[in-house]
Assembly symmetry: C2
Homo-oligomer: 293 residues x 2
């Protein structure tokens, strides 16, 4: 199976799981459930859950719980997209090719949908225990996810991003923001796969380092696409960072591109302890490199 086929299969499994886990659109309160489904099930790259699934398969994690864990990661991601787009945050109008959640459902429903998704992600991890997944492993997964989200993870990145606003002028702050806003959830996505596959500490460390570098590289390619792409292709507002510092504005398009390549090289080196088993992750990294080739 080619990586493309494998990724498509993973995306499909995750989408099916999300459809099953999310309350039905006609279940009361239906407007809330529609709002939750609207952002999660919209067309997306599903790169985080794909990372969970690839890592889990590397360590022969049991399939159904692995897909559920991937779905939990994607719900957290979708929750963060809804919140980022709110008027008091980035005030964005377009997301995943459609009006952002609060424009479609109103601000209060969007906010409650984001909370509902975060909560459902934890409910999903709490429901993992089974003969194939001992409770302590599900608990470890919840600890990792909560760490990635919390006030030293995703939320910290968003706070610093909002506080810095348009005044970010150094690479260090920009890296802090994105290693928290993007990197931490990438790391958790990879670690969840490793945890469910009972990877050894060394192996888990390797996929975490891989994911950290991949996440930042992924963010930089997003910035590059924002600087050079168009709305129709990306499905979200472009140049919305106008006036705001991105890797592209700070390092220039060429500088950002070479930083991204460097990070992908780091990601690939991190896989060394895994030997040939790391090949699927190496392939994944190359697809990120190709995004802005």
């Amino acid at each position: 199976m080619t990586l493309e086929e494998r990724m498509a299969r993973h995306r499909q499994s995750v989408d099916r799981a999300l459809d099953r886990i999310l309350p039905a659109a006609d279940q009361q309160p239906s407007r809330l459930h529609q709002s939750m489904r609207y952002t999660v099930l919209a067309e997306g790259k599903r790169v985080r859950p794909v990372l969970t699934l690839i890592c889990g398969e590397m360590f022969a994690a049991p399939s159904a719980p692995l897909v559920s864990a991937g779905a939990a990661v994607e719900m957290v991601h979708a929750s963060s997209l809804i919140l980022d787009d709110l008027p008091c945050m980035d005030d964005a109008a377009l997301r995943r090719g459609r009006p952002s959640n609060h424009l479609a459902f109103g601000e209060s429903t969007a906010l409650l949908a984001a909370l509902g998704l975060l909560n459902l992600a934890f409910a999903t991890l709490a429901s993992l225990p089974s003969p194939a997944v001992p409770s302590e492993r599900a608990g470890e997964a919840a600890t990792v996810l909560a760490g990635a989200i919390g006030s030293s993870g995703l939320i910290a990145g968003q706070v610093v991003d909002l506080e810095a606003g348009e005044s970010v002028t150094d690479l260090k702050t920009l890296e802090f923001i994105h290693s928290h806003k993007t990197g931490r959830l990438f790391i958790a996505a990879a670690e969840l796969g490793a945890i469910l596959g009972r990877a050894r500490p060394r192996e888990r460390q390797a996929v975490a380092r891989f994911a950290k570098n991949l996440g930042l590289a992924f963010q930089i390619t997003d910035d590059l696409l924002d600087a050079t792409g168009d709305v129709a292709t990306l499905g979200k507002d472009v140049r919305q960072d106008k006036g705001r510092t991105t890797f592209a504005t700070l390092c220039g398009v060429e500088g950002a591109r070479s930083l991204s390549h460097e990070l992908i090289d780091h990601a690939v080196s991190a896989l060394e302890p895994l030997g040939r088993r790391g090949a699927p992750l190496q392939d994944l990294a190359e697809t990120i490199r190709d995004r802005h080739a």
Copy 2:
């Protein structure tokens, strides 16, 4: 020890645990952490975690994890207060005797603080496993908490409350709103104590039924105090429900009072299967009755 003394001791334990679990006010990002601490640590009745602790002690739950579980419940409650007060929700200016969180810290920080608290509650439950608390019990606690918060719990109550707005005219809708917005977290608070104390299903059911009735009675006394109290005593806006339906406006002050008494009677009867062990909960119920005696 009188119930008053016992409750004061429980409140103290919970406040100490919250102070320890919440990131320090000077830890980065400090504004976020200040915002989280601002609402959680403000003067409050702590009725939900006290309920957790009383239930847990009834079943001889291990003390430290029990207090942590109570703290998790209080963090979820504080998170819901911050969100309820936001401009796109109830747009309230005063809470726990001080400006509401978004007025003190700005809307985006308040929102992220609320999320951070919800996340920290799950992190706290995920950290419970120890020789005294098997992982599966911590997982069960997380399932119960997530169920109470989710789109068939607290969040559902808030959605229906916002949708109904000023047009609620029937007791059934009002009961739906409050049995979800208040009742579900009361039930979870009690069940967490029962779970950590390894209560039998019948016993757990009894405390859950108790908590359900107590929660609704508690909400009605809140409405009554809102209708008859003053800002200085309550520490939050009074008559803010003006134009909005409450138990007091729908049933009149006397009708609401008698409904509350009836619910407290139901709560007390629910304790029957527990025999004399239920006495502390019975005492707790009487303090709620006394609130508007």
